[in-house]
């Protein structure tokens, strides 16, 4: 049964959109509800709050917050009662910039124009005062979403954080500060005076701890189904849709597939990795290959498990590989970091013993040495300022990786292979 090519194209387009542009967050309902309630309380009751959302990269923190904000925006009183200020640690690299951006987002550019402020706190207080219209419950509440919260901790004196937390403590204007970060030790980064003003409310978002009744594998399967299953609303012929969905179901039920997934989960659990894997599979869909197969997943698992360093080692020329081997031997024998002169001597000794190796010219070997340094397979030991030839280097690849690369690469002279295995040249 073949799917017409136009349908394949539509399916591919839909799935890509689903994977790349999808903003729907799935799972973690409890955390989502808590954050929603927290923000809602600020808007409706004018309650000041501060909280941190912590979770590893690719866990979907930003997606979750965006989802919550979208839900809040759907409430009819959001526009009249609240102002959203989004700051990003990567973008707003100092407090001055962050405040400028906050002013713009509060639509207060006109009010601030031409005013001179003594301190940062004054500036912020002025901004907040502008929004206050008298009593507590009538004034607008402000929601600060601070992404990459940990980067704000590096700012001078943590002024912005101090002021924001201070305001949230002292009931000046209703604000809610929600920090998003991937650093678990973020509390330790806060200064004492900042820490004491923080409410210490933290939400953790770890993939794979959502439901005690379900295993991680089941949750993972659910996610895959969510991403890859075609909905009824997609406008393609019913036959191809049915074929796709039943094929997907067949694959998901197979034991082999589950084993592969389990391996992937053991390596990396994050949604981001899953999406990357699925994208790589989905983009290969075309007229000739209109359905998924377990082999594709196996291939992706192989890519995930593959040691890239071995691949780079395999790409080296025979000469460069010999230098790496020489460094390895030196470190095994003397347990010290060799420099270029030592490696050259060791290599020359080997090359002279084997007439097959023709290259012994110092300059050429130096170039090869520089190349492996550029690939960062070896690195200079810092703090040692001498001539290039005498600069000690350390090896950044393991002996296992070297021997694996030598095993895998073809066309190496037998002497080199033997030399790699034993230091007796």
């Amino acid at each position: 049964m073949s799917t017409p090519s136009s349908d394949v194209q539509k399916i591919r387009c839909y799935l890509k959109n689903q994977l790349i542009n999808n903003t729907q967050f799935i799972g973690h309902d409890r955390e989502k509800k808590q954050i929603f309630d927290l923000l809602k309380r600020t808007i409706t009751h004018g309650e000041s709050n501060s909280a941190l959302l912590i979770g590893p990269r690719g866990a979907g923190k930003t997606t979750l917050v965006n989802n919550v904000l979208q839900e809040l925006k759907d409430l009819k009183y959001f526009d009249s009662d609240a102002i959203l200020v989004e700051l990003h640690g990567l973008v707003h690299t100092d407090d001055r910039m962050a405040l400028k951006s906050a002013t713009t987002q509060m639509n207060l550019d006109n009010a601030v124009d031409g005013k001179v402020f003594g301190t940062f706190a004054e500036n912020l207080a002025f901004l907040l005062a502008c929004l206050r219209t008298g009593e507590k419950h009538t004034s607008k509440s402000i929601i600060f979403i601070i992404e990459e919260f940990d980067l704000f901790c590096n700012h001078h004196n943590q002024t912005l954080l101090y002021n924001l937390f201070d305001v949230s403590q002292s009931a000046q204007a209703p604000i809610c500060v929600l920090g998003i970060t991937c650093r678990l030790d973020v509390i330790e980064l806060l200064e004492k005076r900042v820490k004491s003003r923080f409410s210490h409310r933290q939400f953790f978002l770890f993939p794979g701890q959502e439901d005690e009744n379900k295993s991680n594998l089941d949750l993972y399967l659910e996610k895959i189904e969510y991403y890859l299953k075609l909905p009824g609303s997609l406008k393609i012929s019913a036959a191809s849709k049915k074929a796709w969905n039943s094929n997907l179901e067949d694959i998901m039920n197979e034991k082999k597939f589950k084993n592969i997934l389990q391996r992937i989960i053991d390596i990396d659990l994050s949604v981001h990795t899953l999406k990357n894997i699925l994208i790589r599979i989905v983009v290969t869909l075309n007229e000739n290959r209109s359905s998924l197969s377990i082999e594709q997943f196996q291939e992706q698992l192989n890519i995930l498990e593959k040691d890239e360093t071995v691949q780079v080692l395999q790409d080296l020329t025979c000469l460069e590989l010999c230098l790496i081997i020489a460094i390895k031997h030196h470190m095994e024998i003397y347990d010290t970091q060799p420099n270029f002169e030592m490696i050259l001597t060791r290599y020359t000794k080997f090359a002279n013993a084997n007439s097959n190796m023709q290259i012994t010219q110092r300059n050429v070997v130096m170039k090869a040495f520089e190349h492996i340094e550029k690939l960062e397979l070896i690195s200079k030991i810092s703090g040692n300022k001498t001539q290039k030839e005498y600069q000690p280097f350390s090896l950044l690849v393991t002996p296992q990786q070297i021997s694996e690369a030598i095993k895998k690469s073809h066309g190496l002279p037998t002497e080199v292979v033997q030399w790699a295995n034993s230091s007796f040249a």
């Binding site: 194209q9 591919r12 387009c13 890509k16 959109n17 790349i20 542009n21 590893p56 990269r57 690719g58 930003t62 990003h88 640690g89 990567l90 973008v91 707003h92 690299t93 910039m97 400028k100 951006s101 980067l151 991937c182 981001h272 990357n276 994208i279 790589r280 983009v283 290969t284 890239e308 691949q311 780079v312 395999q314 790409d315 080296l316 020329t317 025979c318 000469l319 030196h330 003397y334 060799p338 420099n339 002169e341 030592m342 001597t345 190796m357 023709q358 290259i359 010219q361 300059n363 050429v364 170039k367 550029k374 690939l375 960062e376 001498t386 001539q387 030839e389 005498y390 066309g411 002279p413």
Partner: protein, 482 residues
Amino acid sequence: MARRFQTTVRRRVTSAYSVHGSELSPNLKHVKLYTNECFPCRSNEIDQLLNLFKSKEEPYPCSVYVYGGPSTGKSSIIKHVLKNLKINYVMINIIECYTSKNLYEIILNKFSGLHVYPLNGQPYTKCENLMEFTYQLKKISSIINLNGSVLVIDKVDELRDMDLNLLNALLKLKELTGISLCVVFVSEILFEKYVSRSNVCEPIKIYFPQYTKEQLLEIMKKDYNQAQHLIVNNFQKPIHFDLTFYHNYLNVFLSVFFRACKDLAELKHMSKVNFIKYCDPINQNENTINDSVTLWRNMAPLLKSSLETLYLRVLIKNSAKSVEIQSKEFLFSKEKLAQSLELPYYAKFLLIAAYLASYNPVKDDKRLFMKFHEKSKKSIKDVKLKSKVSEHYNTQLGPKMFSFDRLLAIFYAILDKKVGFNNNLLVQVSSLVELQFLITISDNCSLDGQKYKCNINFEFVNTISKMLGFNIRKYLSDFSHM
């Protein structure tokens, strides 16, 4: 100014659209065939790229990381694919951007199609930091739709020396700007060399492996026409050769060079240089074109000697004979430098003294430089030292530092004539430092305990001492193997 900027952009955009509008949407199959033809032996990588970017209606992933060894065709294939798919793309090389400000401005101006005119600097977007960058990018996107554009950044490894977190920000550019802009990173090193894995969202990776020997042969065979031109330009009498002849030559060439070099660009250069030499016997009627065995026999030593100049790009004149001499000359140019260097008589001795001080252990000084030293008694310690391994020779460990007093003491010991200790000598030491032959180790403020290291190699000091008629080997303790 902002208004002017907008109108200019709009004008450029309309002109750009009129070009694009008239052409039909690119045929994927055609692009694929064409790219594969231009870049042989890369079909797997081209497929991966095309899969990601083939259709304009479908979204692109937010970041792609392309990596692989030098001259494996990373940048050129990406450029070729994007160009032929008629995707709006901007390609920049980090080497061109010495600050992040520079990087932002180049990206913005390329996206908006602005150039700097020498007479009139305007309109030209200025941008200081990432906040402005995202703002400006959004602004440009509101005029020209940047959705579905691609930003290609070459030599990303240089980013590590620039602003902290810049790579992180570029990886998340889509999230930061809200524009579905795909960022393609091109680099020679592994992604894991950038940051600890847990701290960054991994992009989709595409690896460009190095060419195998067979692939190199196939690619270099495409230069057949160029090789013919080369012969026509270099010899008065044209030689007619066919593809098999060229193939044979490449086979011989690669059998020597492949072990030392896999870099296609360098191999192409070397093969061009050597092909003239290969054909030279035919030109002089010593060999016929079919006599491949004799040609090979002629060529083997030449190839070997030219292997010694790999990557060094020795200037080559047209005549084939002089190549060898020139390469030899180049290799001995350091010696020539030592000869041509006009140092004062005493400065040369000072330099030799410095070399001796750097490479000899202090305890040997007495034995080496005093006329009536006691016969050293052999202790077990000495015997042990005799058997020390070559890795611990001073030649291998580099120069040791020495004090000024020791330098003077050795200087007076090796110099036969009596010379007074005066200002002129001191000045010569400082001019040696100035010339970087000596390096000062201690800070400049201490006048007494100045310490130095010698910064020249053995060949250099050997040449200098030969010129003075001084036997330096006699005074070196660890150099018997050299």
